[in-house]
């Protein structure tokens, strides 16, 4: 067969300039005054409802100067609450990482009976009030609970102790990672995995070399959100903690106690720390989005 002048299947893709496209089309944009008033309303709302409270937390915390601020933070009860919060997050986040990835993998890569039930179950912690979530553990491990007597016989402390707080945190933050991954993995489909299998890879190699690299940014995003919530959780933890000072108070609970005792500046000092953690989390997230935005977008576009 004679060779044609050009083989189109060998040609490189067309070079598309990498510049943001700004649409100047009167039929899809609003008049100037509408645009600016909408922007103004949005900024006003953000300032009033997000920025102002955040600033006030820090100003209240520093009202009496830096000395009392640091004194409030290094106070033993406050320090223990910081430690407990970090412990709870350090256990809950890795556990939810493993559970969330397995759940998302299971849901998106396999077909089985009861799949929609599993999806609803994953959403359950989002849909029930955290207080109810806490009460569930009281019902199970409390004195009158199903496992309460057994737990007491074996001298294991769950309620009003660190294990209860960790359990409540895991429950509340469970959906974050799975929910972040499921749409992403559904969109990516199973072709890459099937290709890897047909090339001789086993299940673990397929997950490690093909699935994980494809979801790593979504996963990181989910971990950050999960971590933010794990540190900030109040309702469920409040029910199971028992508010024992210096022992079972996490940062949000410590803040509430201080606030109720009218030691405002101490309350706001701890609060500013918690807000600071949240800001760092958001900062890391934004940095990742900025740094790897193209990759994230490509992953989502498929």
């Amino acid at each position: 067969m004679s060779n044609p002048a050009t083989d189109y299947s060998l040609q490189d893709p067309p070079k598309i300039p990498f510049e943001p496209l700004i649409e100047r089309n009167s039929s899809i944009s609003e008049p100037t005054w509408v645009r600016w008033s909408l922007i103004f309303v949005a900024i006003l709302f953000l300032a009033l409802f997000l920025l102002l409270p955040l600033i006030s937390v820090f100003t209240e915390a520093l009202r009496n100067g830096l000395g009392p601020y640091f004194a409030a933070i290094v106070e033993p009860d406050a320090l223990s609450s910081i430690k407990l919060t970090l412990i709870a997050a350090a256990i809950a986040v890795p556990l939810n990482l493993a559970l969330g990835v397995s759940a998302a993998w299971c849901i998106t890569k396999f077909e089985f009976r009861g799949k929609s039930l599993l999806i609803s179950l994953i959403d359950l912690p989002f849909s029930v009030s955290p207080v109810v979530a806490g009460l569930i553990y009281v019902l199970i491990f409390g004195r009158q609970g199903y496992l309460g007597p057994w737990v007491m016989d074996h001298d294991i402390k769950i309620l009003f102790a660190v294990p209860g707080i960790v359990l409540a945190t895991i429950f509340v933050t469970f959906p974050f990672i799975a929910r972040e991954l499921i749409p992403l993995m559904q969109e990516q489909g199973t072709d890459s995995e099937q290709a890897a299998l047909s090339l001789g890879a086993n299940g673990w190699q397929t997950f490690w070399h093909v699935t994980l690299p494809n979801i790593k940014w979504g996963l990181l995003y989910g971990v950050l959100l999960c971590n933010a919530r794990a540190m900030g959780e109040f309702g469920a933890v409040s029910v199971v903690s028992g508010h024992i000072r210096g022992e079972t108070n996490t940062m949000p609970l410590q803040i509430e106690i201080l606030y109720n005792e009218y030691s405002f500046s101490a309350a706001f000092a701890v609060a500013s720390l918690l807000a600071g953690l949240a800001l760092v989390t958001l900062g890391v997230k934004s940095f990742l989005e900025w740094r790897y935005g193209d990759e994230l977008a490509a992953g989502r576009k498929h």
Partner: protein, 377 residues
């Protein structure tokens, strides 16, 4: 490696995707599975690969039953319609993947793997692109990489699922020609799925025409085109005109028209459907045996002049295709009367007439839900 497919049944829920498929594939053959959506061609291919498991039946690779072998142990090179390249790996890493994941005792050393990958890149004519990522390649280049990746594991059989489906016409044509050359060079038994009859006829040694989970006909490209075994095959491979007729004493007559043709076809007497392709109709002189039509439209597409005509006796539409240099095609005008005679035709008993029906491809695993992704937080 030769492949035998024995009575394969496969259902998805209540939808029977394959209903007893039987097929023998010789070593080194290039075979096309051709059929409309929902005919079971992709399911058959995926079953051979081990990506689906049959409800009943056997698939033998070189006489050995593959039932206990998962896809990872079958050594099949599978090429997906949308390439399924690993987008976080370079072209080189994509091609070497199948060798790198082997157990250390079967794995060639690093240099050997690299050497093999570069040879394959050369084979698919993409030398110099080994450091690129899939996103930096055109569709045609990606499909070539996907092929190189599949060939890297020295597959016993190469399976291609609509390999050119996502590409535009020019690229598709060039890739098709190249794939044929590649097959002649490597000699790997190859099965590809397509719904494009032109692609199947141009590329394959033999064509397997499938419809609603069954194999309608297996034959060389000229066999299936010139001697379609069923009305479906006739209809699916190109367009067709159907005339009701009668066979009596080895004579065929078209109902309502003054046509009598000798037929050496030892077809049973009785009512039949006569299948004639548009280019198998001849324009004949007044007085010859044939039926009269009026020209409704004249259309010139490339080298073909297509006449849409209407039968005088029952107002049915008949499509005729003539070569543009055919004296009969020159200066045909709308409204003119001509007489047509079927030169080549197929006969099928009236009862077996079955219109082409298409069903959607059912493959729950392969269909991702395209739902809008809501962001948390």
């Amino acid at each position: 490696m030769d492949i035998q497919i024995r009575d394969i049944y496969k259902g998805f829920g209540s939808f029977p995707a394959l209903r007893g498929a039987n097929l023998d594939i010789r070593s080194g053959e290039l075979i096309a599975l051709l059929g409309p959506s929902g005919s079971g061609k992709t399911t058959l291919l995926r079953t051979i690969a081990g990506l689906e498991f049959p409800d009943a039946g056997q698939i033998l690779f070189g006489g050995v039953d593959t039932a206990p072998l998962p896809v990872s142990e079958r050594r099949v090179g599978f090429v997906f319609q949308h390439y399924a390249l690993f987008k976080h790996m370079t072209v080189l890493d994509n091609i070497t993947f199948g060798l790198r994941v082997r157990k250390s005792k079967n794995r060639p050393d690093k240099d050997a793997i690299r050497k093999r990958a570069l040879e394959l890149l050369d084979l698919v004519q993409l030398s110099g692109l080994e450091k690129r990522y899939p996103a930096q390649l055109s569709g045609g280049q990606r499909q070539r990489v996907a092929l190189a990746r599949a060939l890297a594991i020295e597959p016993s059989v190469l399976l291609l699922d609509e390999p050119f489906g996502a590409l535009d016409a020019k690229v598709r044509k060039d890739l098709r020609r190249w794939l044929r050359e590649l097959h002649d060079k490597t000699g790997v038994t190859t099965i590809f799925v397509t719904h494009d009859q032109e692609e199947a006829l141009e590329l394959a040694d033999r064509v397997v025409v499938m419809n609603r989970g069954s194999i309608e006909q297996v034959g060389s490209t000229s066999d299936v085109y010139e001697r379609p075994a069923t009305p479906f095959v006739f209809d699916f491979l190109g367009s067709v005109n159907v005339f009701p007729g009668t066979v009596k004493d080895r004579k065929l007559s078209i109902d309502g028209a003054n046509v009598t043709l000798d037929t050496d076809n030892d077809h049973a007497a009785g009512a039949v459907d006569i299948y004639v392709r548009p280019h198998d109709l001849r324009v004949v002189e007044e007085g010859s045996s044939g039926f009269d039509v009026t020209i409704k439209t004249v259309q010139r597409t490339g080298a073909i002049v297509r006449l849409i005509t209407q039968l005088k006796h029952n107002k049915e539409i008949v499509e005729v295709e003539l070569a543009h240099l055919d004296p009969q095609a020159i200066n045909r005008k709308v409204g003119e009367s001509i007489r047509l005679q079927p030169a080549i035709y197929g006969l099928f008993p009236r009862a077996s007439h079955d219109s082409v029906r298409t069903l959607p491809d059912v493959d729950p695993l392969a269909v991702p839900e395209h739902r809008e992704r809501g962001r948390l937080g």
